[in-house]
Subunit: 220 residues, 2 copies
Amino acid sequence: MAKPEQSGTVLTRDKLLEVAIDAFANAGYEGVGTRELAERAGTNLSAIRYHFGDKEGLYRAVIQHISQGVQDRMSPFIERIRSRTERPNVTREELIDSVCQLITGFASQLLASGVGDNWARLVVREQIKPTKAFDVMYSVFRLLLDGIAPIVAKIVGQPPDSEEVRICAMTLVGQALVFRTHRATALKFIGWNTLGPKQISELQTVLSKQCRAILTFRSR
Amino acid sequence: MAKPEQSGTVLTRDKLLEVAIDAFANAGYEGVGTRELAERAGTNLSAIRYHFGDKEGLYRAVIQHISQGVQDRMSPFIERIRSRTERPNVTREELIDSVCQLITGFASQLLASGVGDNWARLVVREQIKPTKAFDVMYSVFRLLLDGIAPIVAKIVGQPPDSEEVRICAMTLVGQALVFRTHRATALKFIGWNTLGPKQISELQTVLSKQCRAILTFRSR
DNA sequence: GTCTATAGTCGGATAGAC
DNA sequence: GTCTATCCGACTATAGAC
């Protein structure tokens, strides 16, 4: 971010960012041109250069913005769960319940169609050919995974950095992520038309049951 | 496929396909040019038009080829499981074991770095903005999901087309898929450098445990 | 800060020789 | 069937007026 982050009229910058979030998510980085972005934002090509340096700078700003939003909304939630599970006299049932809440909470954040609906495409792009934006994305996943892993570790009685605990945390998250990454397949298979509040709620019920099953059965 | 599917020298066509699989998977559809594809295949631009009509025709051929390969390798496996689980005197333990085998079998197919390593990118592309190639992909997923859902249905005692059973099947598959779609994140979090046979094997162990937990605990 | 104009490159598609 | 040569539109990046 060497370029001027401060600007008199922030409106153009914000509008550009808003348009780019939508366009990149839906068409992919290579799928949109800077001309189209500028036009859709009601401005011109040079505005991109001025505010973000170049196309990739705008892309990084998009990733940064989305990640920051997710982080802001999830941090207090995760923190609350953490403080709850770090009490000395916490019960196993509370621990299990906490993981369920983390997963279902994440699912609703992930699936509720808010700002930047289809950014799974950008996430996967970074997974396969990581750019400078990868670390930003990773830190958000890390936030969630670091919320889950220590609790799972306590439940199964293993160190939080053991491979098994971390694989387990990954798969728990994967159960929810698949509805973003393979959304069309999931909808068609289940027989849903949309992924609205009703469907998300039903999903959360199943996710919760399964998390509980995994953690309960394993801790025996 | 209106263009001549038969050709004297199939070598050029195959080479083009092979190169395109790799390139599309790694750089995305919009990320590679036809010139580059032709050059990497040791041929020229016109060969693409001749063999596949246009760039999108080549893309569809890529999806078709990969899907066919996956289908060919998975079909007999799924069929074997199916015949085993449809015996009248099948035990619940056998049913649970069958689902575990389907998931771990799928995981090894999915994660073993063979032909078309990074095609998750193309899959997700189709999920967000389905093209004509979506149906081809979907039929492969359907093959697996239709292998899993009826068995899950028997275990939990619900109809195979109930929403809960289908959501469950989706999440079971999601546990494995996340290591393809979020590979870089998974590797970094777990602390692995590669996703080799040793790691896949460890993954299968955990997946198997968790499938068993989900199905065992739910059937009570 | 915001704009127009333009440079330079590369995209996919095509015509036509062999 | 495979090649060369070429068209034309779209891309990113930049220079410079206001």
